[in-house]
């Protein structure tokens, strides 16, 4: 039995209503733990004053420089003692999840037992970077908890100017749109940079995210420095049985209004069967006895819309791989940036293919470590030096797929033009 609860009139109001309540969960823990009684006390104070009361500090585990988020209370009595002494230290361990965030219950129960013993008993599945966040341990208990998690085969994630924990979608494990083995690429890349994850020494954070298709369920394009997004090069595959089944259920109005008219490049057409074109780049499938759809795949940007609407009837092609986009980030400091295309397409089927992604990632991080300013993200660095200089460093050839349009101003020195043309022609001839 824990000590008596503090009055929490504000938090109590978050126990009503149908959605699961974290306050009810905290109160359950508080029945056994003075630690959580005082956590609720401090949180109630924040609700009352509308101020936060945690400050950072230096807490870690032996051998690592990161992965623990230290929190010390700033809510003090006049004599400098903590107002809620049992929750004066409330550190979080960031632990990297398996790709796709799959678990068995034995593992989850072990997490619970360890965290009940050494921590607050509060676990977040998952933080915004993708970590399992074991929230709330004293400085003394951080090492004990980590040792037990680590013996289970789990490892700390990134914090500070480090390679950060990554996320990958459910992907090949359960999704028909998956264009590469997300989990394999995720582990191959991340596990190459364990030193950069555990010992923060980069100019700023570097995030990788892995999405199996352009639906980008991991939001990789806007929140990772290196977004690996699945795509394909060949024609969209079709299945006539499923196409007809779809059409029976949805009809011509939905086919026209929800699919044809929403195709961003207008390459998706519905036609009478006799008027369907044949050709190397055409996908077509009958939806009824009279009508079929026709896609000229050369004009398709692999946006996923028709494949999403008519899943199974249409599917990504077989020549699958990924597009790699670099430089996504949120506002600070220069404003939000989307990642931009650096590798339009790479295969990720074989070990050698995946090794090429690892190699690219390594070269990016080496260049970033050398060239980024302190607290500058990859996207900001590329904005500062220009994409061409970055591509030179990465030894990646320029490609018109990297731009929305060529430049719209003449403010560039072009005295190397002939040399560049010669290089491009030489490469074309060698190919």
């Amino acid at each position: 039995m824990a000590k008596k609860m503090h009055d929490t009139p504000n938090l109590d109001q978050l126990e009503s209503g149908p959605w699961p309540s974290f306050v009810t969960g905290l109160k359950e823990l508080a029945k056994e733990k003075d630690y959580v009684v005082d956590l609720l006390g401090q949180l109630e104070e924040s609700y009352k004053t509308r101020k936060g009361y945690w400050k950072g500090g230096t807490v870690g585990v032996f051998g690592y420089g990161g992965g623990v988020i230290p929190r010390f209370t700033e809510l003090k009595n006049a004599d400098g003692t903590p107002k809620f002494k049992d929750a004066a230290e409330f550190h979080t361990l960031r632990v990297m999840p398996p790709p796709g965030m799959h678990y068995d219950t034995d593992t989850l129960r072990q997490f619970c037992d360890i965290w009940e013993k050494h921590g607050s008993g509060l676990i977040a599945f998952h933080g915004q970077s993708g970590d399992i966040m074991f929230q709330g341990a004293t400085t003394d208990n951080v090492q004990k908890a980590f040792d037990e998690f680590n013996e289970m085969g789990f490892d700390l994630g990134g914090a500070g100017p480090a390679v950060r924990t990554s996320m990958s979608c459910v992907g090949a494990a359960r999704c028909e749109q998956s264009c590469y083995d997300e989990a394999k690429a995720h582990r191959a890349v991340l596990n190459t940079f364990l030193d950069d994850i555990h010992r923060p020494s980069l100019p700023y954070k570097v995030k990788f995210k892995f999405s199996g298709c352009p639906n980008d369920c991991m939001n990789s394009i806007q929140r990772s420095d290196i977004a690996v997004i699945g795509t394909w090069r060949d024609n969209i595959r079709t299945d006539e049985a499923l196409a007809k089944k779809w059409f029976v259920k949805h009809g011509m109005d939905e086919l026209v209004n929800d699919v044809v008219s929403r195709c961003p490049t207008k390459t998706f057409q519905v036609k009478e069967i006799g008027k369907i074109k044949k050709g190397e780049h055409i996908s077509s499938v009958a939806v009824s006895a009279t009508h079929a759809v026709e896609i000229n795949n050369q004009d398709c940007v692999r946006c996923m819309h028709c494949v999403n609407v008519m899943t199974g009837a249409l599917a990504p092609g077989k020549d699958k791989g990924a597009t790699v986009l670099v430089g996504g980030k949120s506002h600070l400091k220069i404003g939000g940036l989307m990642g931009t295309v650096v590798i339009p397409f790479m295969k990720l089927d074989s070990e050698e293919d995946v090794e090429k992604l690892v190699d690219f990632s390594q070269r990016h991080i080496d260049f970033f470590a050398e060239n980024a300013l302190e607290h500058e993200r990859s996207g900001e660095m590329i904005e500062r030096i220009g994409l061409s200089n970055y591509l030179d460093a990465m030894e990646v050839d320029v490609d018109p797929a990297m731009v929305n349009s060529p430049r719209m101003n003449p403010y560039v020195r072009t005295d190397g033009w002939e040399d560049e043309v010669a290089k491009i022609n030489a490469k074309k001839q060698a190919a």
């Binding site: 149908p18 969960g25 949180l43 032996f62 051998g63 599945f125 364990l194 806007q222 404003g335």
Partner: protein, 365 residues
Amino acid sequence: MNQAVQAAAPVAKRKPKETGVPDNKKYLHPTLAKNYGNWKYHDRPRPGVLHHVSHSGDEVWSVRAGTARQMDVYTIRKLCDIADKFAESRVRFTIRSNIEFIVSDEKKVAPLIAELEKNGFPVGGTGNSVTMIAHTQGWLHCDIPGTDASGVVKSLMDELYDEFRREEMPNRVHLSTSCCEINCGGQADLAIIVQHTKPPVINHDLVANVCERPTVVARCPVAAIRPAMVNGKPSLEIDEAKCMCCGACYPPCPPMQINDPENSKLAIWVGGKNSNARGKPTFMKMVASGLPNNAPRWPEVAEVVKNILHVYKEDARPWERMADWIDRIGWPRFFEKTGLPFTKYLIDDWRGSRANLNASTHIRF
């Protein structure tokens, strides 16, 4: 600021095993493991349930339920009990902290749903629903929060509970909340983000001891911070006319307090989309601000959120995400239909902002 390599540690300490990202194969539901990379299509028999069919003919039903994200061990064990009983002792979590139970027998779906709902876990969050809000740490754990996160989410999801359990929106609706302008919650169809309205209040007694001053100067996006001697102590001063109150100086220099119970407001942003489906991915746009940070239930925020979602639900066509819908109807109509005031503060003046101005005569009357 929060980590340092521990030097001179006693030899007896346990060395970490740098095992990195664990393999997920042993955690996969057996039918997922068997059909890895071989799925054919899926459909949704009802809200909260995904039905996937493999090229092998195998089928799985995934039942998705909402959680509080921050869970106590008792709740997690309860979820484990349910997984042991129905789902071959496997679960997975989505990016929005929903939990999924996977069953290979359709007969288990209805009893599993009943068991989840009996235990207070709403089943939904699939397809055209309003799914769980991606969120941050807030007052519970963050060192720089302008507001709470879990509480805002609990309050809003109580209000959006029915929309989570139905699939009645034009397309999926992703929400996020962020307790400061750094926006850890990320891009979403609709996002709630703290918006400070006053420059930081500086405790000049502490700056010299706590802050690395050149670092703080360098962090300011508008170069409004400069070193100064105040009361005989080295400190920093702010050009308050330049300051746009982003709070970027606060993390590296906590004596520059940006959070203010009255003047830290909440803003609403709409139209973020990460997917490449139809149009290219989009950043969200600010459409409302000045909402009070009114814990514990933030009713003013909930009202604006529900209003925007209601108008979107009524007006958007099938498959239009928030951004697609606004693309079709245009911003003037968006403000007209939602009744939100379009103030001068919503005209972008940050770098690259001319691209956000209407350089055409395309105007809907």
